[in-house]
C-alpha cells in the first residue's frame, strides 16, 4: 500500500516521531505531518464514509477543500467534530475518530443506503415526507433526525480559552504563497503597514511543489529569501496558521488564527479571532483543482492530481504504487512525472484532449509514461480501494475498453481561482472561456467608503495560473494596494519567473461526454453531500433552473464545501442540462466563513462571568448576603425574593407580601430610570413625550405618566416629579431607562432641535429605597429630620430634606397600594441609609421584599406593568388608562396614531381582572377561548391573560387579561384552557382586587 519515500517530504522532520491514534488504533507519523499525510503515510486510505450513502471515502485533496476526511478530534472537553484531517497538524497524543459510520468504519449498516441509492435521488426527502401529516412527528422526524447531521455534537464545556484581536493595517494580504509574499513585498515597498496571513503552517503555498524558477532560484529558496526580507522590513507582520475568513463592508476583515490547535493545553488561547480594518485587502488565495466527473470517481484512491503531488513532495508519501492519471490539462503531467521520478509506476495518462504535444506531455512520453490521447475513464473498479480503471474514449458513450490495473488515480479537471473573499462583499466574476474558469472582474470590485475598490486579487486567485503570470499579477496588485492605501509610488520591479509553457485546457464536465444514466449515477460532483451528476440533471428536469435553487434541492456545495470542489462542475452540468452557457447559470453566492470556524473563536472572551456586563445596585452585596434569589432585569440583577433558611421561593414571596401589607417592607428601587429634563422648553417637551399634561404639574408634586411611540403603542410608564420651575425628574421602568433617554434625545436632536431642553440620565447617581407599609411613616419619623406627615407631605407629593442625617428626596408614591415613601439618596450613601432603615424598622417588623412581591402587590391593586400588560401592540386605551391621556393637548407622540381606525376599533381587547371560580392560579399567558374553531382547527380566542399570581392577601389566584368587550362584561364567566387540557373558569371583574378606594395609600 502507501509508503513513505526517502528523499521526499520537505515539510516533515524525520527525526521527530509523533504518535497518535485513529479510531483507537495507534499510528506513528513525523513532525510536520498533517493528520491526513500521517494516515496516508501509514497506509490508511479509507478515512470516513459519505453522508448520505455511507460509501467508503478516502482523501481527495490536501488542503481546506477536502470533502471526505472529516474526523472527530480530541476527547472530552477538547472533542470537536468535523475537523479536516488535511489541515490538522499532527501532534503527539492526537486522537481522532472517523464519522458517519455504525458500528465501525470498515463495516457499516448505513451502507445499505448505497444499494438503494437509485431510490434516494435529489429531493427524496421533500417528496417522501409529505403525507400523511400524522406521521410527521412520530415517524418522519425521528427518521430524518437519525440521518441528519455531520459528526457528533460535543457534550462537555470547552476546556480552552479564546480571544479577539482588534487591528488596523493599511494593507492585508490573505495568502502566504509566492503571490501573497510578492504582493506583500510590493505593498511594503510603498511604505505602508502590511499584514500577511497564511492559513497553513508553512509559507510558499504550492509553488515549491509545482516547480519553476523565480529570480534564478527554486521557488522554495526564493520563498525563504523573501520571508527574511519581509521580516526585516519593519512594516510587515507575518502570521501563519491564520485564515482570511470573511471580508465585509468598508475594509472589515475577519482573520481566524489557530494558535494552539497543534499544541493543545499549552496555556495559550486556542484560537484568536482577528477583527481587522484594512485600507486595502489583497486576496492571494490561490486556486483549487477540480475533480473530473467519471463513474466511480469517489472510490478511495481517486484523488486530485495536485494533492497526490503534495503528499509526495511535502510529506514523502506516495498515494499508490501503480497509478493512472486522468486529465484535461497539462498540470496533471507534473504529478505523472513526479510519481514516476519517485519510482512509482505510472500506468497511463488518460488525456481527454485529442492531440497533446505540449512540453509537459512530451516530457512524460520521454520518461516512458504512456500518454493516451482522447481517452477517458469509463469506470473505476474497487470498493474500499481502487483496483483498476476501464478506459474509453472521451467522445463516446463509455463503452469499456482496456482495463488498467492500478491502486490510485490522479485526476485533474482544471483549476478554479479561490474567489470567496473577493465575492463576500460583492465582487463580481467573469467567465474566462479559454481557461475555463471564473475569475474576479476588477471592473466590478467590492468598493469601500471612498468609492474605490478595496479588494484586489493576486496571482492564481486572479486566474493567473502560470508561475510567471502569477508573480507579475501579484506584483502589480501589491503595488496598487499600497498606493491605494496611501503609500508612495514604488518603481521596484517584480521578480522574473519562468515555468514550462502549457497547452490549453479543454473543459470536461462529464466523462465520457456521452455517458448514459447508469454511469451518471456514479459520477460524484459533491463528495461530502453525495450529490451526483444525475441529481443535478434531475433537478434541472424538475424545473430548478436557478443555481441557488438547485443547490438547495440537491444539497450540492452545502455543509463545509461551500463552492470549493463541487461548484464549477455542478453548475457546468446544470448549464448543460438547461442548454445554456455557464455564465448564464452563474455561481451560487459565496458567503463567509471560508471554512468553518470554531464557536469558541466567535464567542471570544464572552463566556462565563465575562458573558455580558452585569449592573449592580449599591445594595447588591447586601442582597447577596441576605438570601437574594436573583432575577435578571435588563443587565441588572434584582432580588426576586429573599429566601430565609428552609423557605421555598413561593413561601418567601408570600411572607414578603403579607409583611408589607401588614407591617413594613423595604424595596431596592435603585434600578428605576431617573432622567432629568431641564430647560425653558422642558414642560412643552414633556407634554409631547407623555400622553399626560406635564407642563402644568406644580413644583413639589408627582404625576404618573404614560409614554407612547409614534405608532401609538405604550412603551413606558413612570412617575414624573417637578423639581423646580424648569426641571422635571422622569422615572422610567428599569429596563426602559436607556431606551427612553435615547427616545427623548432622538426627538430633541432630530425634530425639535431649536427647543431649549437638556436631558441627563441620572439612574446610577441615586440609590432609591421604597419604604412601604402601614408602619412606613413611623420608621421615617424614627430617623427624624423631616416632616413626613400627611399634611406636610401628602400622597403624590415629594420633598427634599434630611432624614437621619442623609440628604434625601422623598417621593410619596405607591406601586403597592400601601402608605409608601420612595427615598432617593446619593448612590454612595445608599447602603448606609438602607442599614439605618433596617435598624429603625426592627421594632416595626421590617423585611426587605423582592421583585416578585412587588409584582403581586401591584397586581392586587390592578396596576399595569410594562412588558406584562404591554407587548408593543397595546395602546393606553386598551388598558383603561384614558384618564392618563390629556384631552387638552393638541399633540403628543402617538396621538395621531391612536386615532387610526384600527386603534379606535371597539373590538380591540381591553384590560379586565380575572378571578378564578375555584381560586386557582391561571397559567401565565393563557388564552381565553371563544366559541368554535378557526381554519386550522384551533379554538377561537377572545382574550389573553397578561398577569397572573397567587394573592396571599386575598388567598386566591388573581389575574389580569385583555378580553374582547371586557369592561362591558363584568361578572361574566369565561373559559381558559390549560396546556394539560384541563379548563379553568374565571369571572370577569375589575382590575383592582384590593382596597378599591385607595384608602390605604393615602393616609
Amino acid at each position: 500500500m502507501s509508503a513513505r519515500l526517502e528523499g521526499y517530504g520537505r515539510l516533515i522532520d524525520r527525526s521527530k516521531r509523533v504518535s497518535f491514534s485513529f479510531n483507537g488504533k495507534r499510528f506513528r507519523g513525523y513532525g510536520g505531518d498533517t493528520l491526513a499525510s500521517a494516515l496516508l503515510g501509514a497506509g490508511q486510505m479509507m478515512l470516513g464514509r459519505s453522508f448520505k450513502y455511507h460509501r467508503p471515502r478516502g482523501l481527495v485533496a490536501s488542503g481546506a477543500e477536502e470533502p471526505n476526511a472529516l474526523v472527530g478530534l480530541g476527547e472530552g472537553r477538547r472533542f470537536e467534530p468535523d475537523q479536516r484531517a488535511t489541515t490538522t497538524e499532527l501532534f503527539d497524543g492526537l486522537a481522532a475518530i472517523s464519522q458517519n459510520h455504525w458500528p465501525s468504519l470498515a463495516f457499516d449498516i448505513g451502507e445499505a443506503n448505497n444499494y438503494v441509492a437509485r431510490f434516494l435521488p435529489a429531493g427524496f426527502y421533500y417528496k417522501t415526507f409529505m403525507a400523511p401529516r400524522g406521521a410527521w412527528a412520530k415517524i418522519f422526524e425521528p427518521f430524518v433526525r437519525q440521518s441528519a447531521g455531520l459528526g457528533r455534537v460535543p457534550v462537555d464545556a470547552d476546556a480552552d480559552s479564546y480571544e479577539y484581536v482588534y487591528a488596523h493595517y493599511d494593507v492585508v494580504v490573505v495568502g502566504g504563497g509566492v503571490a501573497g509574499l510578492q504582493a506583500a513585498r510590493a505593498a511594503a515597498a510603498t511604505g505602508v503597514s502590511v499584514l500577511v496571513m497564511e492559513d497553513a503552517a508553512h509559507w510558499g503555498g504550492r509553488a515549491p511543489v509545482d516547480g519553476g524558477e523565480i529570480d534564478g532560484m527554486a521557488p522554495g529558496d526564493w520563498v525563504k529569501a523573501v520571508l527574511e526580507e519581509l521580516e526585516n522590513a519593519g512594516n510587515v507582520i507575518l502570521r501563519m496558521r491564520m485564515q482570511g475568513t470573511g471580508v465585509y463592508d468598508h475594509g472589515y476583515l475577519l482573520g481566524y488564527e489557530r494558535v494552539a490547535d497543534h499544541s493543545p493545553g499549552d496555556g495559550r488561547p486556542r484560537h484568536r479571532l482577528w477583527r481587522i480594518r484594512a485600507g486595502r485587502i489583497v486576496t492571494a488565495t490561490g486556486a483549487l483543482e477540480r475533480p473530473l466527473a467519471f463513474a466511480g470517481n469517489d472510490v478511495p484512491g481517486v484523488m486530485l492530481a495536485s494533492a497526490m503531488r503534495d503528499y509526495l513532495v511535502n510529506w514523502g508519501v506516495a498515494a499508490g504504487r501503480r497509478i493512472v492519471v486522468v486529465t484535461n490539462n497539462d498540470d496533471a503531467y507534473r504529478t505523472a512525472l513526479a510519481m514516476k521520478a519517485a519510482g512509482r509506476v505510472v500506468a497511463a495518462v488518460l488525456d481527454a484532449r485529442e492531440v497533446v504535444t505540449s512540453p509537459l506531455a512530451q516530457a512524460a512520453r520521454a520518461a516512458g509514461i504512456p500518454v493516451m490521447e482522447g481517452r477517458a475513464i469509463a469506470e473505476v473498479r474497487g470498493r474500499a480501494r481502487v483496483k483498476s480503471v476501464l478506459v474509453t474514449t472521451q467522445k463516446g458513450a463509455g463503452k469499456a475498453g482496456e482495463e488498467i490495473r492500478c491502486d490510485a488515480v490522479a485526476m485533474s479537471g482544471g483549476w478554479s481561482p479561490v474567489v470567496h473573499l473577493w465575492s463576500h462583499c460583492g465582487g463580481k466574476l467573469t467567465w474566462d472561456e479559454t481557461a475555463a474558469l471564473f475569475r474576479p472582474d476588477p471592473e466590478r470590485a467590492p468598493t469601500g467608503a471612498d468609492g474605490a475598490p478595496f479588494v484586489l486579487t493576486a496571482g492564481a486567485a486572479s486566474g493567473a495560473l502560470a508561475l510567471d503570470a502569477c508573480l507579475a499579477d501579484a506584483h502589480e496588485a501589491g503595488k496598487a494596494a499600497g498606493k491605494g492605501a496611501g503609500g508612495k509610488a514604488s518603481r521596484k520591479a517584480g521578480p522574473k519567473a519562468s515555468c514550462e509553457a502549457e497547452a490549453a485546457i479543454e473543459p470536461v464536465w462529464i466523462m465520457p461526454e456521452g455517458a448514459g444514466p447508469e454511469k451518471r449515477m456514479k459520477m460524484w460532483l459533491d463528495y461530502q453531500n453525495d450529490v451526483k451528476v444525475s441529481d443535478v440533471q434531475l433537478a434541472a428536469r424538475e424545473g430548478y433552473e436557478s443555481v441557488e435553487h438547485t443547490k438547495r434541492y440537491t444539497t450540492l456545495g452545502m455543509a463545509t464545501d461551500q463552492g470549493k470542489l463541487s461548484n464549477i462542475n455542478g453548475l457546468a452540468v446544470l448549464s448543460q442540462a438547461l442548454q445554456q452557457a455557464i455564465p448564464q447559470t452563474g455561481t451560487t453566492t459565496f458567503r463567509p466563513p471560508y471554512t468553518p470556524i470554531s464557536m469558541g473563536a466567535i464567542a471570544g472572551e464572552a463566556r462565563g462571568d465575562l458573558f455580558q456586563p452585569l449592573r449592580r445596585t449599591v445594595l447588591h452585596d447586601w442582597h447577596a448576603a441576605h438570601g437574594a434569589d436573583w432575577e435578571p432585569v435588563g443587565h441588572w440583577r434584582r432580588p426576586y425574593a429573599y429566601l430565609s433558611a428552609g423557605e421555598s421561593r413561593a413561601q418567601a414571596v408570600r411572607r414578603e407580601v403579607v409583611n408589607t401589607r401588614e407591617n413594613l417592607g423595604l424595596l431596592d428601587a435603585s434600578t428605576l430610570g431617573k432622567i432629568v429634563v431641564k430647560g425653558p422648553d422642558a414642560g412643552r417637551f414633556l407634554d409631547m413625550m407623555y400622553t399626560n399634561m406635564m407642563s402644568t404639574l406644580p413644583v413639589g408634586k408627582c404625576r404618573y405618566g404614560l409614554m407612547c411611540s409614534e405608532n401609538g403603542f405604550l412603551i413606558d410608564d413612570g412617575v414624573v416629579a417637578r423639581l423646580d420651575d424648569d426641571t422635571w425628574l422622569c422615572h422610567t421602568t428599569t429596563g426602559g431607562a436607556d431606551r427612553i433617554h435615547g427616545h427623548m434625545e432622538e426627538w430633541l436632536q432630530t425634530e425639535w432641535w431649536d427647543w431649549k431642553v437638556y436631558t441627563a440620565n441620572l439612574t446610577e447617581h441615586y440609590a432609591q429605597i421604597g419604604v412601604v407599609g402601614p408602619k412606613a411613616r413611623k420608621v421615617l419619623e424614627a430617623l427624624g429630620g423631616m416632616d413626613v406627615s400627611k399634611e406636610a407631605l401628602p400622597f403624590m407629593h415629594w420633598a427634599e430634606g434630611a432624614l437621619g442625617g442623609f440628604p434625601v428626596r422623598v417621593f410619596r408614591i405607591s406601586f403597592s397600594g400601601e402608605l409608601s415613601y420612595e427615598i432617593a439618596v446619593p448612590a454612595s450613601r445608599g447602603q448606609a441609609l438602607w442599614d439605618a432603615l433596617m435598624e429603625a424598622g426592627k421594632p416595626h417588623g421590617v423585611m426587605p421584599y423582592g421583585t416578585e412581591a412587588l409584582h403581586v402587590l401591584r397586581a392586587e391593586k390592578g396596576f399595569i406593568m410594562i412588558g406584562d400588560e404591554t407587548d408593543g401592540t397595546v395602546i393606553p386605551q386598551d388598558l383603561g388608562l384614558n384618564w392618563a391621556i390629556s384631552k387638552k393637548k393638541d399633540d403628543y407622540i402617538g396621538k395621531r396614531a391612536q386615532a387610526r381606525a384600527h386603534m379606535a376599533d371597539p373590538e380591540r381587547w381591553k384590560l379586565v381582572g380575572l378571578e378564578t371560580t375555584d381560586g386557582s392560579v391561571i397559567p401565565d399567558g393563557a388564552y381565553i377561548v371563544a366559541e368554535g374553531t378557526n381554519a386550522n382547527g384551533q379554538r377561537n380566542t377572545q382574550g389573553r391573560v397578561t398577569s397572573s399570581y397567587y394573592s396571599p392577601t386575598l388567598k386566591r389566584g388573581i389575574a389580569m387579561g385583555l378580553v374582547l368587550h371586557g369592561p362591558e362584561r363584568m361578572g361574566e364567566e369565561v373559559t381558559i384552557p390549560r396546556i394539560d387540557g384541563a379548563e379553568i373558569r374565571a369571572r370577569i371583574v375589575e382590575t383592582c382586587f384590593y382596597d378599591k378606594e385607595g384608602a390605604k395609600q393615602d393616609v
Binding site: Y248, D249, H250, G251, Y252, R277, T447, G448, A449, D450, G451, E710, N711, G742, E745, E746, Q749, T750, E751, W753, D890, D891, K895, R896, A897, A899, R900, A901
Partner: protein, 107 residues
C-alpha cells in the same frame, strides 16, 4: 461593518458604535394630518438602490444623531452631516450629483 464619521465628535465610528435610524428628512405628520399622509409618514420609505440619506446615532460614543449620505450599492459614503437640518447641505448634493451620473436628487 460600515465606518461613518460622526460630524459632532469627529470620530471615524465603527458600525458597532452606531445605531441606525432609518431614512432621514422625514416630515412629521401630527394630529391634523390625513390618514393617508400619516400612514405615509409612518410606513412609506424610499429604500433606493443607490444614493440614500439616512439617520444614525453615535450611540456608543457622543450620543448625537447625525445624517449620512451613502450608496446602498457601492457602500460609498458621500458625506455625513448634523441632524439639525431639514435638507441635505447643498455642497454635498453637488458632490453626489457629480459622482453619480443620472442621479434624480434627494427628494
Amino acid at each position: 461593518m460600515l465606518i461613518l464619521e460622526c460630524p459632532c465628535c469627529g470620530v471615524m465610528a465603527d458600525e458597532t458604535e452606531l445605531a441606525p435610524g432609518g431614512e432621514a428628512h422625514l416630515t412629521r405628520v401630527g394630529p391634523e394630518g390625513s390618514d393617508a399622509d400619516f400612514e405615509s409618514y409612518l410606513f412609506d420609505r424610499k429604500n433606493p438602490k443607490g444614493v440614500h440619506f439616512e439617520r444614525w446615532r453615535h450611540a456608543a460614543g457622543c450620543g448625537k444623531w447625525f445624517h449620512a449620505a451613502r450608496s446602498t450599492v457601492t457602500l460609498e459614503v458621500f458625506g455625513t452631516y448634523p441632524a439639525q437640518v431639514t435638507e441635505p447641505p447643498k455642497a454635498l448634493l453637488a458632490t453626489i450629483a457629480k459622482k453619480v451620473p443620472g442621479w434624480e436628487g434627494w427628494q
